[in-house]
Every structure is written in structure tokens, then in C-alpha cells.
Amino acid sequence: MSYFRDVGALARKDLLLELRARDTLPAMLLFVASVFVVFHFALPASPSRLATIGLLWVAILFTALLGLGRAFVPEREQRTMDGLVLTPCDRSAIWLAKSLATLAFLAAAEVVALPLYAVFFHPIGGATVAAVVLADIGICAVGTFLGAMAVATRARDLLLPLLFLPLAIPIVVGAVGASVAASPARYLGFLVLYDALFAVVCWASFEYVVAE
């Protein structure tokens, strides 16, 4: 139980920091809204659903990347990771809490993004919403892990997309498939498998990411 209390305390800290600094969520909201507005005017009238679903997932992926890039900024700028890793809490709790906080920011951005997509392009179906939920989990689990790796390097802004985007390809495949296929169950199952596999790998190896 103390593990989840630690996760709760750390996630609460991240939400409080965002509430005070407001430097992640507004950027994510502005970015995703701008993408839809720009493409609303850039695409020909009545674009196909297939094309706009692709656009939706690219927008979600890059919006998430914005949030992931900022996830460990307080720990980097104020060197607080040293303080956190010295505490007796399991180091994976730091990853889990950060993933949950990033997931909350991404979900908040999508609460605006999905209706906006429906207004500008096509209605959103239940399978797409399910795919968004499952994809978010995978994006935040893997992205937070890679964000912690990238933040320790000088080329952090370049490194995170370079590491993250190839690993996000299966998420895009599963999510787009679930959004457009007649029977999305197979693709949703694939996303569940991806989430479970990468969550376990990230959880088990985060200890080595924060060790110097």
C-alpha cells in the first residue's frame, strides 16, 4: 500500500506544479487546436474519414510529445531527481506517478481535441474513444520512460522524439486500425498487449534509468 501512497504523493506534486506553473497543458491545448484549425482550412472540402483519422492520430502523438518533453523539466532544472532517488520509495513509483500526471494532461487536451475534431471533420465513434484511452496509456508509459532517459543528456529535445516516435509506430498502427476497421476488437487487443508489455518493461527498468 505504501507504494501506491508514494505514487499518489508524487503524482499530486506533478499536478500541483502544473496548476501553479501552467507551462504544459496550455501549450498542449493550443497546439492540438491549432493543428485542427490549420488542417480544416488546408484540406480540401469534405476530406475522407480515412485521411482525417490519420490527422487525428498525428495530432495526438505530437501533442503528447509536447507534454512528455516537459515532464521531467522541474526535476532537471531544480535537480530534484537526486532528492527523489535518495528516498526509500521504489524508484518505479517516480515513473508511474509521472506517467499518470502526463496521462492526466493528455486526457485533458483530448477532452478539447476530440470534440474539435468532430466539429471540423467527422464524428468520433466508440472504437476511436477506446483506442484513444488505450493509446494514451502506451504513449505515457513509454514516453515518460524515454523522457527520463533523454532529460539526462544534452541533446534532450532531439533525443526524445528520436527515441519515442519509432516506438510509437505500433501505437499508431493499432489506434488507426481500431478507428477505421469494421471490427476493431483485434486492434484494441493489440493496444492492450502493447500497453501491458511496455508498462512492465518500463516499470522494471526505470531503476537503471535514474542511476548515475
Binding site: A9, R20, R79, D82, G83, L86, P88, E212
Partner: protein
């Protein structure tokens, strides 16, 4: 408490620490001195468990939860208040009667009246006082302090002196400083690092 044999650390091609031997018994007070770039901070980070040596061995008889580390940075969140920072660390360290302990430390270090203000609004000296509160919060067995007098005014330095005097003998100290004379009354051992 702490035994290091032929300790060394490289960062790529650069060697920042070489052949350090030290023995710090329980209750000891070891003062580390040396010029800038002599490896004091690296040595302290290794002893605290924040970095691994690339050469030699180190044995620590304390768990990481029993280490209190003060670095060059205060290791607190600037957008949180002093109380929120200590509350977070208190939870993670499972400090019993957290509220009382935090209140006592904030009172002692003269931060009680500003406990609900964000750390970003603090002066460097106040932030250093908060960092000392963070280090002492969980009553660590081993205190690893890197330049603890840095940014403290005379009143703050006297508070720290009083704290060191109170804990000397009860806790084990490893402390890096450019002002060894100030710590002369407490020191049980000295280690001078060559640049």
C-alpha cells in the same frame, strides 16, 4: 559506517577522482577540503549513493533512507511552498508525526512565517535553510553535506553550527567545505583532495 578503497571516477575521458581511501566510523565527522574541480562533489555523491565509482569500492553500512544529502542545489521544487516540499519528502521518507517534525524544523530555521509561500519567492539563503530542513527531516544516520554554509547569512550559519553541535557524535557527518576553520571544533578527521 563508510569505507572507501582506491575510489575513482571518470566521466568519459576525464578523471575527476583517483585513488581515494577513507574510513568514516559511526559518529565520525569528516571534513573534505580541496580546490575547485578537485572532486569533492563527486566524492560526496558517490558516498551518498547518487553515483557509482568507476574504480575502487565503497561500503556503506546504512540504507539509502538513512542518508541525508545536501548538494549544490537545494533539491526542492520552486513552485511548491516550503511546507508542501517538506510534506512531500516527509511522506516519501515515511516520517512519523510528520506535521510536528516539519513545524519544528521550519520554526528552528526561521521559515515558519513563510511556510505557505512558494520557494520561488525565497532568497538564496532562505532556500538553503529549507534545504537543510529537508536534509534533517527524516533524522538520517549519515549526513553528506556539500558546502552547507553556502548562501547562509551569519544568523543562518550560526543556526547550522548549533545543529551540527547538537548532532555531533550522535550522527555521522561527511562534509565538504571551503571554510575548514569553521568546522575545526567538530571535525574528527580531515581529507584534502588534490586538484
Amino acid at each position: 559506517m563508510l569505507i572507501a578503497r582506491r575510489l575513482g571516477r571518470r566521466y568519459g575521458e576525464k578523471r575527476v577522482l583517483r585513488g581515494i581511501n577513507l574510513e568514516l566510523p559511526s559518529g565520525g565527522f569528516l571534513v573534505v577540503t580541496g580546490a575547485n574541480g578537485s572532486g569533492k562533489t563527486t566524492l560526496l555523491r558517490i558516498c551518498a549513493g547518487l553515483a557509482q565509482p568507476t574504480e575502487g569500492t565503497i561500503e556503506r553500512s546504512v540504507l539509502r533512507a538513512q542518508v541525508g544529502y545536501l548538494g549544490h542545489e537545494p533539491l526542492v521544487y520552486r513552485e511548491l511552498t516550503a511546507f508542501e516540499n517538506l510534506e512531500l519528502y516527509g511522506r516519501l521518507y515515511r516520517v512519523a508525526e510528520r506535521g510536528e517534525r516539519i513545524g519544528m524544523l521550519l520554526e528552528r530555521f526561521g521559515l515558519w512565517d513563510v511556510r505557505h509561500e512558494r520557494v520561488a519567492s525565497y532568497s538564496r539563503g532562505m532556500t538553503q535553510r529549507l534545504a537543510l530542513c529537508r536534509v534533517l527531516l527524516h533524522e538520517p544516520e549519515l549526513l553528506v553535506l556539500d558546502e552547507p554554509y553556502s548562501a547562509l547569512d551569519e544568523a543562518g550559519a550560526e543556526l547550522l553550527d548549533a545543529q551540527l553541535a547538537e548532532l555531533r557524535g550522535e550522527r555521522t557527518f561527511l562534509l565538504a567545505t571551503h571554510e575548514p576553520a569553521r568546522l575545526e571544533p567538530f571535525a574528527t578527521g580531515r581529507l584534502a583532495l588534490a586538484a
